[in-house]
């Protein structure tokens, strides 16, 4: 009983902490991915915007989907949502609670990616350098329109031969990076304030409903784990009985064929009982062959009745 309680508590506390751990790992992975990614802006007028915005928005979608996939609770929630009511009513509040907690955890890694991207600045410089107003910058003010588009597109590439010592390039780059970092810090500030408010104000409204929803969502999770464990236990016992039944029926068959006298049990403890009918090289081979060619039916009711 004590052991059961310990296992229960382990399951209870660990589901949430496992999910939080996975969440944190994904966030770290997103930072690592960004730093190891070799960002190379194409520096061509038609491709810059697509590349820059693509790098900023496609990996967050991937990280969000990964966060949903790796979260075991999302499967539990889906099952609970789609199951037929049967004898147990469905509680929409529980499903909503589970859904919101899954979404919150899945959103952490994408937000980390977007903020790191904005604070670094390369994506925005690549995407919006072609949309700058050339009149604001001395080096681009008196150049023809197509030429200026080409030059602006090459701003993110420091090592390009045209841009190597161009001071206006540095000016555009600094301007865009400043905007990018401002955007990044603002988003971070807004999100943290929102999280702070949500966590502080929640106890003021519907605390009782929240406690109920949290309790029952934990319950559903634990119930499913225990059901799986019980199925494993059951299949182990089923297999055990099936195999013993098989050995006994082989012993009986051999007894019938060899017309030998029934032996008194030599001691039917454990192993010795197995050896009783099967005492010969050929008999063992026959047993193994029968196991392969004719597996016993999945029915241990006769074993019970014996």
């Amino acid at each position: 009983m004590d052991r059961f309680r310990m296992i229960f508590q382990y399951f209870q506390s660990n589901s949430e902490s496992v999910m939080n751990g996975i969440c944190g790992l994904l966030a770290l992975a997103s930072v690592k991915m960004y730093t190891s990614l070799d960002f190379s802006c194409p520096c061509l007028p038609q491709y810059n915007m697509a590349y820059g915005l693509g790098i900023m928005f496609v990996p967050p979608i991937i990280l969000f989907l990964c966060g949903l996939i790796l979260n075991r609770q999302s499967l539990v929630m889906l099952e609970e949502w789609r199951r037929p009511p049967g004898h147990r009513k469905k509680d929409q509040a529980v499903i909503r609670y589970m859904c919101s907690s899954i979404m919150q955890r899945a959103m952490v890694a994408p937000v980390v990616w977007i903020i790191v991207t904005l604070l670094d600045g390369k994506c925005l410089i690549c995407a919006f350098s072609g949309s700058m107003d050339p009149q604001k910058f001395v080096g681009f003010a008196n150049v023809s329109t197509e030429q200026v588009q080409l030059l602006l597109a090459k701003v993110p590439c420091k090592d390009d031969e045209l841009m190597r010592n161009n001071t206006s390039r540095k000016a555009v780059s600094r301007y865009l990076r400043c905007w990018s970092q401002a955007l990044g810090w603002s988003i971070l500030l807004i999100l943290i304030i929102a999280a702070f408010l949500a966590r502080w104000l929640r106890p003021c409204f519907s605390q009782a409903t929240l406690l109920q929803a949290r309790h029952w969502s934990n319950y559903i999770d634990i119930e499913q784990k225990i059901f799986e464990d019980t199925c494993c236990e059951h299949s182990r016992l089923f297999a055990h009985k099936c195999i013993l039944h098989f050995f006994e029926s082989m012993q009986q068959e051999i007894k019938l064929h060899s017309f030998s006298l029934p032996r008194e049990g030599e001691g039917a403890e454990g192993g010795e009982g197995l050896v009783q009918g099967i005492t010969d090289h050929d008999q063992v081979n026959k047993l193994l062959k029968t196991w392969y060619y004719e597996k016993p039916p999945l029915d241990v009711s006769q074993a019970h009745q014996r």
Partner: protein
């Protein structure tokens, strides 16, 4: 029994996590392999495409097959698929479930290799450098060159040290263009795979959840049954061996007594249990004979019923009629060594 059950449950619940662990290790191994691999583009027009696409596509295929090889359950699946029907029907849903779960795990390392390769960009740069649009990206004032010359120059793009087509098209421009396309392909590929995985995982509980529970239970059952059968056979083999060896020693000491080769010394009365364990062999000569006999002429794989009152351990009732002459042959062979 309790301990057994706990270990079993650990194994059972852990087989999935064990396979997931192997999966993750293979994915890490594939990224490590890629970073340790020394990529050398040949920079020749005819070979670039083959080399680049080869590095892109052949290792994933190898990793996929390796994923199957390292999975213990492949032999279980093959066995269940090929076994004769016998008295137990075969459920194709179970086979499909086992195959799908193995294929999904085996696909992770190849997908990781493809993503890392595409995001890095070297393969696509090497394979498609001869297809760069020179008209749009190249310098306007380049000398008219023949097609073959252009191809030869473009093929050298990945090898910066020997590239001498700067006037045709700048090396950095071409490399940036190709790498941008490669990364776009890479991210789209990863997005596609992740979306597929998400759909597969989330649509399953909406349809056929009951069938899924059934297939999962029976595939676990087949696995456990196989393991338990192996264990039961091992137990049986142990008991078989014990009785066989016991009967060998008994037979030896009985024959010694019967042939008057050696008078058994009477063991002192107070060491009854120890004397029993000695199985009638109490001196060096007899022991040496027993060992030699064990090596030169092992007893047949055939256990007899418990000791008959006649003391002749070889002949007994209850022998299956298939081995009437073997014991006598063994006896004769044994005597010849005395």
């Amino acid at each position: 029994m309790d301990k057994f059950r706990m270990i079993f449950q650990f194994f059972q619940s852990n087989q999935e996590s064990f396979m997931n662990g192997i999966c993750g290790i293979m994915a890490l191994a594939s990224t490590q392999m890629y970073s340790a691999f020394d990529f050398n583009c040949p920079c020749l027009p005819q070979y670039n495409l083959a080399y680049g696409l080869g590095i892109l596509l052949v290792p994933p295929f190898i990793l996929f097959l390796l994923g199957f090889v390292l999975n213990n359950n492949i032999s279980m699946l093959a066995e269940e698929w090929r076994r004769p029907r016998g008295r137990r029907g075969k459920d194709p849903a179970v086979l499909r479930y086992m195959f799908c779960s193995m294929a999904q795990r085996a696909m992770i390392a190849p997908v990781v290799w493809l993503s890392v390769t595409l995001l890095d960009g070297k393969c696509i740069t090497c394979a498609f450098c001869t297809s760069v649009p020179v008209e749009t990206l190249g310098n306007a004032s380049h000398p008219r060159l023949s097609q073959g010359e252009v191809q030869r120059l473009l093929a050298q793009i990945p090898c910066k040290e020997i590239y001498n087509g700067q006037q045709l098209i700048a090396n950095e421009v071409a490399v940036r263009y190709l790498r941008c396309i490669s990364q776009a392909l890479g991210w789209c590929f990863v997005l596609l795979m992740t979306t597929l995985a998400f759909l597969v995982r989330s649509l399953r509980p909406c349809f056929s959840q009951a069938a899924f529970l059934k297939s999962r239970y029976w595939s676990h059952y087949i696995d456990i049954e196989r393991k338990l059968f192996d264990e039961t056979c091992a137990e049986h083999a142990r008991s078989f061996a014990k009785v066989c060896i016991q009967q060998f020693f008994e037979g030896m000491s009985t024959d010694l007594v019967a042939a008057h080769c050696h008078l058994p010394r009477k063991a002192p009365a107070d060491t009854g249990e120890a004397a029993e364990k000695l199985l009638g062999i109490t001196d060096q000569g007899t022991m040496n004979m027993a060992l030699k006999s064990w090596h030169r002429c092992k007893p047949p794989l055939h256990l007899h019923p418990p000791a008959q009152p006649t003391g002749n351990g070889w002949a007994g009732e209850g022998q299956p009629p298939t081995h009437p002459s073997a014991p006598r042959k063994e006896t004769a062979a044994y005597y010849s060594w005395v």
